[in-house]
């Protein structure tokens, strides 16, 4: 009985997910993360609770809908905001503004926002519901050597749910991947290990103090878990987001490469993921705080870092 009511909190499910492991995959994105990476391109993945999101491009202006959202809000959390020009008519449209200090993410406004400019990020799924959704795409996994990926946020912060979903998928004969920051208790990692064909494992910085200063947590646990996984025979894809002025210096990349080399055969591939700024505007969907934007690393630089890692002796390094 208990198993049936087990739920997980997700902020997205993506089919034809081609960047989260081999083949064509469907990825479940779980909500909530202990890290606060400033470059995170899915800011809605960080909080563990449902959040009200607002996409200005979808909002058709309060004149058209007669401010339905404002009327529906019992917390007085929505006020008139700036205007934007309608792409077609070039007429100004009156936008809204969400007062985040008053909003309790109840979603009443989203209910009545028909163009879905306001919507709640974060929805509870039972194990059955998520498994049914993942199985819907199974015919695409077969031809492509794909499968399912559980990602986040940090999915290992909802371990009971994740273990159950992975167990079911393995029983169906589907390839499973877990995309993780590695920042979780080893006891948790150990629980998903038997049902996980591949770990997509992030390494952000080799220096713990820098790691803590920028993403909010130290790196010892992450590195230790990586070693334990390797020792336990897990398969891993190491993913390194290349962030300007943070971890793209040659010293750090070299040390990262050396660490990967230590992990031995467990590492199938090391991916260098160049920073991109596509997530920047997403921050304004859930808060008033814009995020600093950096210049994406050049192709040339990425090639240089790749060469550097190969020099250290890593056989398979890719960009993207």
């Amino acid at each position: 009985m208990e198993e049936k009511t087990l739920t997980g909190k997700l902020y997205d499910i993506q089919g034809f997910s081609v960047q989260d492991g081999p083949g064509v995959r469907t990825t479940a994105f779980l909500k909530g993360c202990p890290l606060r990476c400033p470059w995170c391109h899915s800011p809605e993945s960080q909080a563990f609770y449902p959040q009200l999101s607002w996409i200005s491009m979808r909002c058709q202006g309060t004149e058209l809908c007669e401010s339905r959202c404002m009327k529906a809000c019992t917390k007085n959390a929505i006020e008139l905001g700036e205007t934007r020009l309608d792409a077609k008519t070039q007429e100004p449209l009156q936008m809204i503004h969400v007062k985040r200090d008053l909003c309790d993410n109840c979603g009443d406004c989203a209910e009545v926002c028909y163009p879905n400019a306001l919507f709640i990020s974060g929805k509870d799924y039972t194990v059955d519901e998520l498994c049914a959704r993942l199985l819907q795409d199974r015919r695409f996994y077969k031809n492509s050597g794909g499968g399912i990926t559980i990602s986040g946020g940090e999915c290992l912060y909802q371990p009971d749910f994740v273990v159950e979903v992975l167990k079911r998928m393995k029983a169906e004969g589907i390839h499973t991947a877990v995309d993780t920051t590695g920042y979780a208790k080893w006891e948790v990692v150990e629980r998903v290990l038997p049902y996980t064909d591949l770990f997509l494992y992030d390494l952000k910085h080799m220096d713990s103090a820098t790691h803590k200063a920028v993403v909010g947590v130290p790196n010892e646990l992450i590195l230790e878990n990586a070693k334990k996984l390797a020792a336990a025979g897990a398969k891993m894809q190491i993913r390194i987001p290349v962030i300007p002025q943070f971890n793209n210096d040659e010293d750090n990349i070299r040390k990262t490469a050396e660490f990967c080399l230590e992990l031995g055969d467990a590492v199938e591939v090391v991916q260098l993921l160049p920073y991109h700024n596509l997530g920047v505007t997403k921050y304004l969907r859930i808060s008033d705080k814009p995020i600093a934007e950096a210049t994406p690393p050049s192709d040339k630089q990425m090639q240089r870092l790749k060469a550097l890692m190969e020099e250290v002796g890593l056989p398979h390094v890719t960009i993207h």
Partner: protein, 807 residues
Amino acid sequence: MHEWKPVTDRVARIREKYRNTRPKVDINRYRLVTEFYMNNPQLTGILKRAKNLRNLFENMPVLVNEDEVIVGWQGASYRCCALYPETSFNWFMKELRAGTIPLRQQDPYDIDPEDEKYLLETGDYWDKHSMSAIVDEYMPRYHRDNMIGNGVLFFGKKDNCQSPVGHFVANFWTATQKGFGAIQKEAEDKMAQMEEDGIFGDDIYKYNFYRAISIVSEGIIHWSERYAKECERQAELCQDPARKKELLEMADCLNWIMKNPCRNFHDAVQCIYLYQLSMCMDGQQHGISYGRVDQYLGRYYEQDIANGTITPEYAQEILDLFYLKVAECNKIWSEGATKSGPGYTSGQLMTLGGVDKDGNDATNPVTYMMLQSSGRLVLHDPPQALRIHDGTPDELWEAAIETTKRAGGVPTFESDKVIIEALMKRGIPLEDARNYCLNGCVEPSVGGYEWAQPGGTGTESYLNIANALLLAINNGTNPMRFPGAPEPKRTGPATGYLYEMTSMDQVLEAYKTQVDFFTKWQCTNINAWESMSSFHNPLPMVSATLEGCMENGKDCQCGGAKYNSTGNSCIGLGNVADSLNIIDQVCFKRKIATTRELYDALMANWEGYEELRQIINGKIPRYGNADPEADKYVDFTASTYANGINRATGPRGRFSAGCYPVTANVIFGWFTWATPDGRKCGEPLSDGISNVQGMDKNGPVSFINSVLNFDQSEYGNGTLCNMKFHPTALQGEGGMMKLRSVMQTYFDEGGMELQLNIVSSDTLRDAQKHPENYKDLVVRVAGFSAYFVEVFKDCQDDLIRRTEMSL
């Protein structure tokens, strides 16, 4: 790795000329046909058509342009078009008098003032002598008196069937391997035998047929020899020894082919091109397709390479030159019709790949050469269709995907498994079904063996099922109101009004009643057309090779072919599937609005009901997202139409359902009132078997899961599925492999056809703003590709909407 090899200088020169020449109207064909018809009222039926064609063979100008090796043309100047007045001409005269032809926005044509004068003097002759005028007289009474303005069918009171026929594939194996000398002899022998025995019973019809075959066979041989003479003439004047030699070789080829079996690759290419052109010149050049070109040419190529008589580079150059000739082909359409097939396309589809009659992979070197030509020349025409099966080689997949990235949407991908199954369902045995090809846009037929008439009468073959739904909930009356027009009257069965309906079952029943009624009339009217077309417009040039015709002594239009069917297509599948679900959700399940409110909202074109429209657009699950609730009525919609069509028969055999729109979804949308799926009056209908534009929010895999909800093997006349991929989604290692696996899965699970646009909506928007930078940007439009900057604005917008990724 697939690589693009550079083209030769002369190929580059011709391509440049092709892209920079504005098409003009050439009246040589028009003048010859008009004078022939005026001077020979005593001639009728097949003999008239045969002698008319022979007259063209004898008197059309022979044009051999600089740099060309593959020759044959339909007029006196480069990239000109011919006119086909014996089919329909009112539209042309109207536009000519209005002076809009050189000025119109889509596919304008220049006309010489002297030619214009001649056309104005003679053109009205065709008002009473064209096929269209004849068909108008023979339209069934009930339809004529009671059904005009229904909006479901395209048949009207006047000017029906303006662009009929086309969409066939002759037997090019017979043309290349047997030759018309032998065919003529066969016809002559049969006639001699009949004359000796006496001609009794209905043998006289056969006798007339063989007579026509003999005439056109002799004619095409003569035509080829006239080209040979022109090559010889030019050779005599030529200073360049290399070109001189080439011209003499061309003359030798042209003197030989048509009469005799082809000897080599050059012969075979020239033969299929010239034979195809003769059929374009005889019939309407529209969707007349080439069939399995790699299968015709493969043996000659391999033989020549083995003999050392040709180099791969020269063979590729010949193929390039052939492709440029086909690309040059175009025909003028009415301004209205142009909008359903924009971009100067003549739709001469070529098929490649697939299995042979034993089920083995049929790929040969020419298969790759065809993709090489399409890709390296960045041509939207000729369109290509690649047959995919389990044994399709990896290299061929790769070459095809690279080609489709470069020449947007060329080739399309076709599922052997599903299409062969669909053809067997219409009675074709496995061995012949395996030899299928695609016609026009996406319509399968057994090329050279089947008279499938997938284009039927032309535009009239499209059935607007979105309007059938509107009639179902409006008591059989089309709610479309035109300013100044009389109040619309009932044209379909009186199925009641939405506000009288108390359950979803009643809505479904009303819809089915309308579709059954209109499919019945659709097929009835097409049969009325065929009764006249088969008499006035037989096609002996096609029948000369088409399997069965010589044996049966019958023209293809009269049922002479080995296999027979008639195609049809619906438009608006996505709109109807969504509309039915929305009526169910809004009025019955969730009770968001009453049937009266929804009805009133529709009749008001949503004015004053914006809130309801927004709920429908934002809060009700939609087709295209693999949501079982939303996809509930897809199968019902698809099978209601298909059953209505597939049970109908014509004089030659059964009808066959399809779902592909060219860009008629945009045109039909202009004339379709507001629909329950939130669509306003005038907006485009959904495209092919896709969801309503922009409603698929969950990416390609969910989209395919939705589309696979109905049985495509019931759609023997083809389905069309446009898929969009953002270029970034396919980046990185294995991106293309992933794309391929998605397509393979679609085919494994019952999908028939896929065509791809791998371009971002940002790129298309930029191309709208700066067309000068995107002259060679080819995109898939519908059953064909086009240069994006050459299609009309509404169609560009529709493409952008389809390509848009959800926010």
